[in-house]
Symmetry: C2
Subunit: 407 residues, 2 copies
C-alpha cells in the first residue's frame, strides 16, 4: 500500500484548481473551478430536495463539471418554481462571466428552508467570488469559510499519494454540522483530484468513499434536503487511476482517507459538541451488522448525553447495540473505552462486567471520559466484520443552537 | 359506539384488584394483585433483556397472572446468573408470603443497568408492600409512585364502558420517561380489567392497543432493555368481551383509550420536557406510511429543539417527512399547527408556503408555539390513511438529566 501524505492547500492543493469565497452578512458564496473535469456527485436521499439538487442531479448526467457555485445562508429548498428559476439565473450569470458552458456548472446551497433566494445579494457575491478565483491555499480557505453555517471552524484537507511511482493529489473542502445523519445530513463536500479517471469509474470511487466516511457520521439523526458531495477529476497529473473497470487501490485508499478525515472534522464540529466520539464494532456477523451497531451507539441520545456528562455508562452502549438490529448475544459482548493518548478501560469482557464501583477499570473509564476524544470499541464475537462510526456528544449548546436557528 | 367514562381509582378502580407501593431511598417496590387473571404481556424488542423479562416471558406462557411484583431503581439487566437468581428469589419470597403459586407471579424492573440487585433492600420492600395490599384509590397511587424513576409525576388512569348494557372497567398505572421510543422505550405499564376474556383473545386486544398507543410515542429514540406492558383480566364483571374469535369493539376502544391516555401522559412527562407534541399525518398512502411520517416528525431532534425554542420551523417538519420513507410529493404537502384552545395556523398549503414573515399565519403559528401543547397536522394527499404520534420537546434539562444519571 502506498503512503498517503497529508499536504497543505485544501482543494487548491490540486493542480488546475482555483477557488474563492466571499460573504455578505449571513450569506456566503464559494466558487470552485476545475476545468473539463470528469465528475460524480452523491445527494441526500430525502424526498424533499432543494432546487440546486434538482439542477445538479440533471447536469451531472453529462459526467463533466468545470465550475461549482455554492451559497450558504439560504437552502433554496421548498421554494417552488421561483427556486428553480433563481438557480438557473445564478448559473447563467456565472456562465456569462466565466465563459464556461452552463451545462458544466454545478450548484449547491445550504441554509434555511422555504425562503426565497435573496438574488440581489447572491448575484453580486457570485461576481465577486469569480473575480477572486485563484490557485492558492488562501483561496481554498476562503471558499471553505464562505460555505460555513453553524460550523465553528472551516474544513479543508488534502492528500498526496503515489500510483505507479507518480504523484496524485486529492483536495477538498466541506461544511457540517447540524442534521448530520446516516445517508448524509446537511453537509456539502467538494473534492478535486488531478487523477485521470472516467466519469463512470469516478462515480464508483466516490460512492465507495462516501459509504465509509460521510455515511458513517451522525450528529442528530436528521437528514437534510440539500446534502451534496461532488468529486471532480481534471486529469492534470496524467496518472490513470482506473484500468479495466478496476479502481487503483492506492487511489481508493487515498480518497477514503481524505473523506474520512473530512467526515471526522464534521463530527468533531457537530452542533454544540464538546467531545468527539468514535465507535468501532468488531466481530460482527457481517459488514451490515457492524454498520448497524456502530451507528446505533453513535446515534443514541442517551449515550451522547452520558459522554457529555463524563459518565462511562456502558449499559447504554450495550442497550444501543441491542436495539440496533445486529446479531448479538448479551453474554458474549465486550465493551471497552480508550483515549488517543493510550489509556484503556475494559468495561465489559465477554458479558462479564469489569467496571464496578471502586475498580481500576471504572477509574480509568472515568479518566478517559474527561478527554476530548472518546473511543468506544465493541466486540460482538459473531463473525469477522468491522465498521467504525463517528459522532459527538449531545449538549446544552446543541439544544440552544437549534432552538434559536431561524429567529 | 359506547361512551367511555373516565373514572377515579387507577388500577384499583377495577373490582378485585389490590395494590400497594413502598420506597426506600432510590428503590421503590409495587405489588399488584388480581387473582386468577387471564393475562398477556408485551416486551421490549431489544436483544439485550433484563432478568425479569426472561422470567415473565416464560411464565406468561401459562396465560395466567395473580400477582405482579415491580421494582424501580435497579433494572436487574446485564446481571448474568446472579440476576436470574435474584429474580427467582424475589418471586419465591412473594409466593411464600402471599400463598400465590410462583407460576402466577410476574415481575418487572426499571433503573440502572448492570448493577446487582440490592436484595437486602428489595426483599424487605416486597414484604412491606404485600402487607399493605389494598383495594383503594390511594393504594393505586402508592403503587404508581413507587415505580417512578425520572418521572416528575405518577401516572394512573381508569375508564368504564358499557358492553351489552353491562359495565366493564379497565384501570392502569405506568411509568415513563427516558428512552421512550418506537417499539416501547423504558416504560412499564400494568393494566387490569374485570372483563371476561380468554388468554388468547386478551393477547390480541393488548397488542392492538399497544400498537396505537405506547408504540406511537417517542422521547429520545432509545429503546430500553426492560419495557413491559401487562394486561390482566379477572372476569369479576361477568361480562364477556370476546366472542367467536372477535374482540368486542367497545372493549377494544376502551382499552385503546386508556393506553393512549397513559402513553400521552408519558410523552408529556418525557425527560426534561416543557412541551407536549402531537403529530397527526393524514392522507398517507397506507397506515404504515402514516406511522413512518408521524414518528419521524416526533423523533426529529431539530423539530423538537425548534418547538422548545418556540420557532414554527415548518421546513424541519417537511424535511422529517421527506426522510421518513413515506410516499410524498413536496408540491402536494400541507402542514398546519393548532392549539388545544382552537388556534390554527396553516404554514404550508399543498406545497405553497403561507407563513411568510409578517403574515397572520406566521403570527398565529408563533402564538401556538408558546402553548404547552403543540399539535402538528400534516396532509400528504397520497391516500386515505392516518396515524398520530406523540412526543415532547428536546430541552436543556433532557441533556442535564441524562448527563448525570448514574453519578
Amino acid at each position: 500500500m502506498s503512503k498517503i501524505n497529508v499536504i497543505e492547500g485544501g482543494i487548491c492543493a490540486v493542480e488546475g484548481v482555483r477557488a474563492a469565497g466571499s460573504r455578505e452578512g449571513k450569506y456566503g458564496l464559494a466558487v470552485i473551478e476545475s476545468k473539463d473535469s470528469a465528475a460524480s456527485a452523491v445527494f441526500t436521499s430525502n424526498k424533499v430536495v432543494a432546487a440546486p439538487i434538482i439542477h445538479t442531479k440533471e447536469m451531472i448526467k453529462g459526467g463533466k463539471i468545470s465550475l461549482v457555485v455554492v451559497n450558504s445562508g439560504n437552502a433554496n429548498c421548498f421554494t417552488g418554481q421561483d427556486g428553480i428559476d433563481d438557480c438557473d439565473k445564478t448559473i447563467e450569470f456565472a456562465s456569462i462571466i466565466t465563459g464556461i458552458p452552463s451545462t458544466e456548472i454545478a450548484t449547491a446551497s445550504t441554509g434555511v428552508i422555504g425562503r426565497k433566494m435573496p438574488m440581489d445579494i447572491i448575484l453580486p457575491l457570485v461576481e465577486e467570488s469569480i473575480s477572486k478565483l485563484e490557485h492558492s491555499a488562501e483561496s481554498s480557505t476562503d471558499a471553505a469559510k464562505s460555505i460555513m453555517t453553524t460550523d465553528t471552524y472551516h474544513k479543508e484537507f488534502a492528500v498526496e499519494t503515489e500510483i505507479d511511482g507518480e504523484k496524485v493529489s486529492i483536495g477538498g473542502i466541506t461544511k457540517g454540522v447540524g442534521m448530520i445523519a446516516p445517508n448524509m445530513g446537511t453537509m456539502l463536500c467538494f473534492l478535486a483530484t488531478d487523477a485521470v479517471i472516467s466519469s463512470e469509474m469516478i462515480n464508483k470511487a466516490l460512492k465507495s468513499a462516501v459509504n465509509r466516511s460521510f455515511n458513517m457520521i451522525v450528529v442528530d439523526g436528521d437528514q437534510s434536503t440539500n446534502d451534496t458531495a461532488i468529486l471532480m477529476a481534471n486529469g492534470k497529473s496524467g496518472v490513470e487511476v482506473a484500468k479495466n473497470g478496476e479502481i487503483n487501490e492506492d487511489f481508493q485508499n487515498a480518497l477514503d482517507f481524505i473523506c474520512i478525515s473530512l467526515a471526522k472534522m464534521m463530527a468533531r464540529d457537530g452542533e454544540g459538541a464538546t467531545k468527539f466520539i468514535e465507535c468501532k464494532v468488531n466481530g460482527a456477523k457481517d459488514e451490515n451488522d457492524a454498520i448497524l451497531a456502530s451507528k446505533s451507539v453513535i446515534s443514541s441520545s442517551l449515550v451522547k448525553s452520558a459522554i457529555f456528562g463524563g459518565d462511562p455508562n456502558w449499559g447504554r452502549i450495550v442497550a444501543a447495540v441491542g436495539y440496533s438490529g445486529c446479531e448479538m448475544n448479551q453474554e458474549m459482548i465486550s465493551v471497552s473505552l480508550n483515549s488517543d493518548d493510550g489509556k484503556e478501560a475494559i468495561l465489559v469482557d465477554k458479558g462479564k462486567i469489569l467496571a464496578f464501583e471502586g475498580t481500576d477499570e471504572l477509574n480509568s473509564a472515568e479518566e478517559i471520559m474527561q478527554e476530548k476524544t472518546v473511543n468506544i470499541v465493541v466486540d460482538l464475537y459473531q463473525g469477522d466484520a468491522s465498521a467504525t462510526a463517528w459522532g459527538c456528544d449531545l449538549t446544552y449548546d446543541y439544544v440552544k443552537i437549534n432552538a434559536e436557528y431561524t429567529t
